[in-house]
Amino acid sequence: MLSEQRIRGILFYLSLCIFCAGLPFILSFALGYKFNRRTFHFTKTGLIDLKTQPPGASIYLDGRLLEEKTPTTISELLPGEYNLRLELKMHYPWAGLVKVEEGQVTRLDKIILFLERQDIKQLNKAQFSSLWVDETAGHIYYFSLQDSSVYTSGLEGDNFEKVADFVRIQPPPLKCILSEDRQKLLYFNAHQIAIVGMHPEKYEFLKDTSFILGVPDKIIINVFWYSDNYHIIVVTSKDIEAWEAKPEAQPVQLLRLSKKSTFAHYDPKTDTLYFTDLQKAPDGNFYDNLYKLQLNNKLYPFSEFINLKPAFDFDKVRMRLNGKESDLQ
């Protein structure tokens, strides 16, 4: 019978043997080596880390179906390019050429398998020409040129209803823009601006807000609502003007422009107009410059808090901008 200490000695050396024999395999696995049992050589391999959304996709590697499903790691791959195809029932397959490099992981962890039949739903209940989605208020506005109407619905197409009638303008409008308070709609073509009150039956004061403003001698490039929802800023081929949104209103010219087709962007939160125009440089040449025109009314600092947006003081603005106007000429 073996003594305890001898058994312990045998156990010790057995453990040592297991350690020495097992360590190369563990280290080679960790480093991405594959042991070839035929040649008794280690070959450096790479691996593919696969994750799909949703999981459970079948994996075809160079046309061969693997047992694993996503998410998984395909290890011990010899360096090279592999045709990878992922298939999941009721979903569009994903296919691609994947490059595997030795000792490295190719991560494909952002694959989305889209549903074959998406959840499609028709929202409009009448014909329309253009639309505008107001995510903040949760409304969709449909503009129909056929029956000169504005419709609205919820984001799911619910509560579909007609909210206003258009005043027809010819040629058809280039663009439709809702006022910030969603109570007025303006649309325009090259020489006409039409304004329509939304929900006229609900709001008594909107009954008269359906009219057309004519701009015969120049081309309208863009129109914006001023933040008081009563004035509009009109960018034309000759100048920038401010109009009151009322029948037979007269424009106030804010700036004269040298360029006929200016770019304009309006930020209604700060009442700032960004526009481009040509300016003569000291070298005698004209260059396009970008300008920022601040139109916010600072005369009433508490107006935002009490939600009163006073009418724009055009005379003061005109006086303030006179200097700049001359610069731009």
């Binding site: 305890e4 297991i18 350690f19 960790a30 000792g103």
Partner: protein, 501 residues
């Protein structure tokens, strides 16, 4: 003076070595993780694999030790001694039992003394010394209570009171035990008892011996080829209050018992721990326990080892002595108590400078033996301070510090968490064996403890990773750092609690 300074410098260097090694490895791992993450990952994997092989090997030793313990459980050791005949020496043999006590009251000691009284061994061959600390104000009061109860039960029952602040002493258990042993020596001299016929057992205040303990000890003493060049180490279990201890305290104590059982199978490294026995003659010759060191239990072994020029051993006794599991009133306090206890055990690292400095001066102990013991001592303490750090923390270092390329692109960066996780889980698998064995060393469930506690005790092993993190390496690292910085520890007695308050 100059010689003394050189000695002190050598000793300081030796004190610094274990802590410097442990911290050096940790800093190297951090540096490698940052600059050479692949190398760091490989080191971690090699260590993890080594650890699982080691755990498997040690668990096998544990099974062997357990098998031996179970096999010898019902031995009638006294009969075995008697079978040795008159020449065996049983009739001449005395057992001197010392309980060094500080604040432990009669409630703790009564159970220990009762265990002596109920042991299957002639009490008229037992001399009991309860060694009190004079600085504790209730010592004399407690001594009177216990003397009244136990005075007539043994050949002799002595109460000693160790004065505080003696020259060359620190407040350690060893100082008190030495005071008690010296008083016993005087008693033996007065009675004309030969030291050669006395076996001394130094027990913690809460140590309750198995009823066969003294028979077993006597048998091994009488049959040992070199009885005076041997210490006798029983298997410590913490069964006194194990059913009342919180889960993780129980786990730690059971693990400590198992570690001791494993050590009992590695005789070439086996060192005395906690309650142990030895020849009184040897104890006197080597100058008793150290009076200025915390780890008196292991140090007394090293003193004897040096005295006998390496021809000294610890003989395992496959019989249990039961002590209290360390716990306190709430979970946090229990954690603190456990931490302090483990740190005190880890303070055994003070053996390293003591032993090595004497090895350097000694020319009679075989060189190979000195090298082996030095290596064992250093390796065991450094491994203790590092294993949990490497297994739990170091595996994530290359991922955290090695940069995005290592973590996201390289195969080893990808495989590292998987491999180390798998190896760690394999290590935990050995817990199943430990769970099964832990059930077998438990005492019967007290009536007031509900049977549900059985389920709790089986499921509490899920706490192992948490315990490993808190109590695995940190107490050892703490102790080594203190020694490295010359912030020497004093003996910090473990709080004893019989029941949950």
């Amino acid at each position: 003076m100059e010689k003394n300074q050189i000695y002190n410098r050598h000793n300081r260097t030796l004190e610094i070595i274990p802590g410097a090694l442990s911290w050096g490895v940790i800093f190297l791992l951090i540096l490698f993780a940052y600059f050479k993450p692949v190398a760091c990952a490989l080191i971690v994997i090699v260590f993890d694999f080594y650890w699982i092989i080691r755990t498997g090997y040690l668990t096998t030793l544990l099974i062997m030790a357990y098998h031996k313990l179970a096999r010898q459980k019902d031995n009638d050791w006294l009969a075995a001694c008697q079978s040795l005949g008159i020449t065996g020496g049983l009739e001449r043999l005395f057992h001197l039992i010392i309980f060094p006590v500080y604040k432990e009251g009669p409630d703790i000691l009564r159970a220990s003394l009762d265990a002596l009284k109920n042991s299957h061994y002639p009490k008229e061959r037992m001399i009991v010394v309860v060694a009190y600390e004079e600085r504790y104000k209730y010592s004399r009061e407690n001594a009177l209570i216990l003397e009244k109860e136990f005075k007539g039960d043994f050949f002799a029952y002595l109460s000693t009171f160790h004065p505080d602040g003696l020259a060359g002493e620190t407040r350690t258990k060893g100082a008190n035990a030495t005071w008690g042993a010296k008083a016993a020596k005087q008693f033996l001299d007065n009675k004309g008892i030969n030291y050669e016929n006395v076996v001394i057992s130094c027990f913690d205040a809460d140590t309750c011996v198995d009823k066969e303990y003294f028979g077993c000890l006597a048998y091994h003493f009488l049959t040992s080829p070199k009885p005076h060049q041997s210490s006798y180490q029983p298997m410590p279990v913490y069964n006194n209050n194990i059913w009342y201890a919180p889960s993780f305290a129980r786990l730690v104590e059971i693990s400590a018992s198992f570690c001791q059982m494993i050590e009992s199978m590695r005789l070439e490294k086996f060192v005395t721990f906690s309650s142990h026995s030895m020849s009184f003659k040897t104890l006197v010759e080597i100058g008793y326990w150290p009076t200025d060191m915390v780890s008196d239990d292991s140090m007394v072994y090293w003193k004897a080892f040096l005295f006998f020029k390496g021809d000294y051993r610890v003989i395992p006794l496959y019989i249990t002595v039961s002590m209290d599991a360390a716990y306190s009133r709430n979970l946090f306090k229990t954690l603190v108590v456990q931490y302090k206890q483990k740190r005190r055990w880890a303070w055994g690292v003070e053996n390293f400078p003591f032993v090595v400095s004497r090895f350097l001066k000694d020319d009679q102990i075989p060189l190979l033996l000195k090298i082996r013991r030095t290596f064992n001592l250093l390796e065991s303490h450094v491994t203790w301070a590092l294993w949990a750090v490497i297994i739990v923390v170091a595996a994530s270092l290359p991922i955290l510090l090695g940069g995005a390329f290592f973590a996201r692109v390289t195969a080893i960066g990808y495989n590292l968490p998987k491999v180390t996780g798998l190896l760690f889980n394999c290590t935990l698998m050995t817990s199943i064996i430990w769970i099964l064995l832990s059930r077998t060393i438990l005492p019967p469930r007290p009536k007031e403890v509900k049977w549900v506690k059985n389920l709790v005790m089986a499921s509490e092993w899920v706490l192992v990773p948490f315990i490993v993190l808190i109590l695995g390496s940190t107490p050892a690292l703490d102790a080594q750092t203190r020694l490295m910085l010359a912030k020497y520890m004093e003996f910090n007695p473990t709080e004893k609690t019989k029941k949950v308050v």
